[in-house]
């Protein structure tokens, strides 16, 4: 019974946020776009002319009703993938996205294997 109450509380806390995620977050998009004329800054952190212009472009695109993904693909077509801080998940970046998790799985398998081996000996 107590467990059920806990579960309900847990899911309640998850549900509260359902409304907030529907909006396209402008600042989140800004943080994912590299300021191409700066050194390692996103356009959210920069106030170069380039960053200011790009912020206006993003605002326009949002007003046109574009989704986050559409905005990214529009900008990367224009400026190249260099502009996106979060690389696309595609064939070229398979290793980048896949290898960490692959390592995680392999590590887990090694540990399980070690424990199995030890328990047989014991």
């Amino acid at each position: 019974m107590r467990f059920k109450i806990l579960l309900i509380i847990f899911f309640l806390s998850l549900n509260i946020n359902l409304y907030s995620n529907e909006l396209v977050e402008e600042s989140k998009i800004h943080k994912n776009l590299r300021c191409l004329v700066c050194q390692g800054q996103s356009i959210a952190d920069s106030n170069s002319d380039f960053a200011l212009t790009l912020k206006m472009v993003v605002k326009d695109l949002i007003d046109q009703g574009k989704t986050e993904a559409e905005i990214y693909s529009f900008l990367s077509d224009k400026y190249g993938d260099w502009i996106l801080y979060k690389p696309k998940i595609n064939q070229g970046n398979l290793l980048l996205w896949g290898l960490p998790y692959l390592a995680l799985i392999i590590g887990g398998v090694i540990i399980v294997f070690l424990i199995r081996k030890s328990s047989k000996k014991a």
């Binding site: 050194q39 390692g40 952190d45 106030n47 993938d81 690389p87 960490p100 590590g107």
Partner: protein, 624 residues
Amino acid sequence: MLSNTGNFLLFINIFLSFLIIYNSFKCLKIKNNLIFKNIYQISLLQSTLILICFFTLTSAFIVSDFSLITVYQNSHSLKPLFYKISGTWGNHEGSLLLWVIILTIFSFLFLIYNKNHPKNYRLHTLIIQNLLILGFLLFIIFNSNPFSSINPIPKEGLGLNPILQDPALAIHPPLLYIGFVGSSIYFSAAMASMISNYSGSLFAQSIKSWVLISWIFQTLGILVGSIWAYYELGWGGFWFWDPVENASLLPWFAMTALLHSLLVLEKRNTLYFWTIILCLMTFTLSVTGTFLVRSGILNSVHTFANDPSRGIYILVFLSLMIFASIYFLFSKYKPTNDLINSNSKETFVLINNWFMMFYLITVLLGTLYPIFTDAISDNKISVGPPFYNSVIIPVVIAFLFFMAIGPQAKWIKNKFSNLRSILLILSGAIIINFAIVYFLKSYSLISNLILISSLFLIMSSIFDFFKQSKLSFPRIVSHLSFGFLILFIGLNHNFSVEKDFNLKLGEAKKIDDYEFALLDLKLSQENNYKAVVGKLEVNNSNTMKRRVLYPEIRIYDNPQTLTYEASIQTNFLGDHYLTMSNIDRSEYYNIKFQHKPLMIWIWISVLLLSFGGFLSLFKNAKNN
């Protein structure tokens, strides 16, 4: 004059390193357990002379001796004394000298503090450490000599990059260097351990303090660098997943893993080769980091010192190190009987290592991948914060749970009789999280889980504090503060407020709960810069609080640079952070305002984390 003194001392040091290596080999041939007295003496002399060498450079900076290229390029006679001194290591050449100092002093200290360990092991450590010292001394002399002179002597120096003229950044390099150059000593010890067949728990004991020391300083170094980036770069963030920051984080992951696996080696005499690999990996990653930073192949906000020719030398050195490590690992590897029972402390240490390796691989891959894609294809990609956040954060949740449960397990075999209390703590965590969500604001699923897991770790650690013996106090402090660190980062991330807008003098603007007004702009003339100081009033209609902040736009003279100084008001609940910058061809100023809750607690958590390491070091010193 100072140039000659410095060069002379460098050459003497090279000679002394050779002498130590020669004497060590001679001493190895003799069949007793005594080390020649002259080896101690030469080591002491070597440490003393390298310090004098460093002070020679410092004094050149203090008296502004521009006959040295390094001083000419990085100093200015009008610079405050404090920054003249910190300028010694605020550049590539000087920092390499600092690097060698740490290599040398650690070498000497390791020699004198391990007298109860066998001669062969100690001498081999000394030999390998001196090979490292030689490598860096040669690098200094042939490529990056801080004592190179310039003719004709310039009348005035070029000055130090103003954003480096900062107290935090003055102490940041020494701290970080003790961290990752300090790891050289257990690189050497690990090699020596394989060569002299000195393995097991005694080996673990001999390096434990050194791992702790380097870990503490690495942690503090990262902290200070992060604080600096927070107030100096003016973006209000404290971690940017920037390649240079990653370079300092990579050895930290390896060190943290090592710190834990060392416990298993010490107590249970297993995992020897894995521990050796971690020892070798830590220093290798430190040198890799240096290579990435100094060679200039990375695009980073922190790139202050780079030059391709340095890169090639470090790359050759690094390859030799890796090659030697792999060679010895393969030739000395023996399959061992690593008995690991499920539910034992050993398993949880392995789980810690497992996650550390995951973080390490992710960050390493993210840092290097853009370089490779750029080299192999024309496709230039960026890997930034959104990548790391989305790959790492979900995994951290599981990590925190293991971190809470792990320490309760016993060595060898354990039964989980305390499942009830775990569930109880978990319920507590979920309820507190619900309260936070309910009373404050909504946030995403991942944030919920991060908060629950960090609360779980915090509460478990507090329970541990009352249940377990005093001996585990250092560990509890570190685990507890790590829990707090993640909790505060999570809360900070979720409840930050950011406003970005343009304002002109005399204008006021209302955005949501806040009202901003640019009341005044003042020109001020300081010692080495001019500044435009804004006076901004921030009213919060919710809390009815009124604040006045004074952001600055600074124009430094030498070298001519424009910087934006954030105005920050800190209190225990959060920071109010404001930067102002001019917009070209306009009377408007761009204002970035941020409210960052619990900022100071993030710093305090990291400080406590390293304090836990310090306590552990203290405990270890008392036991031995």
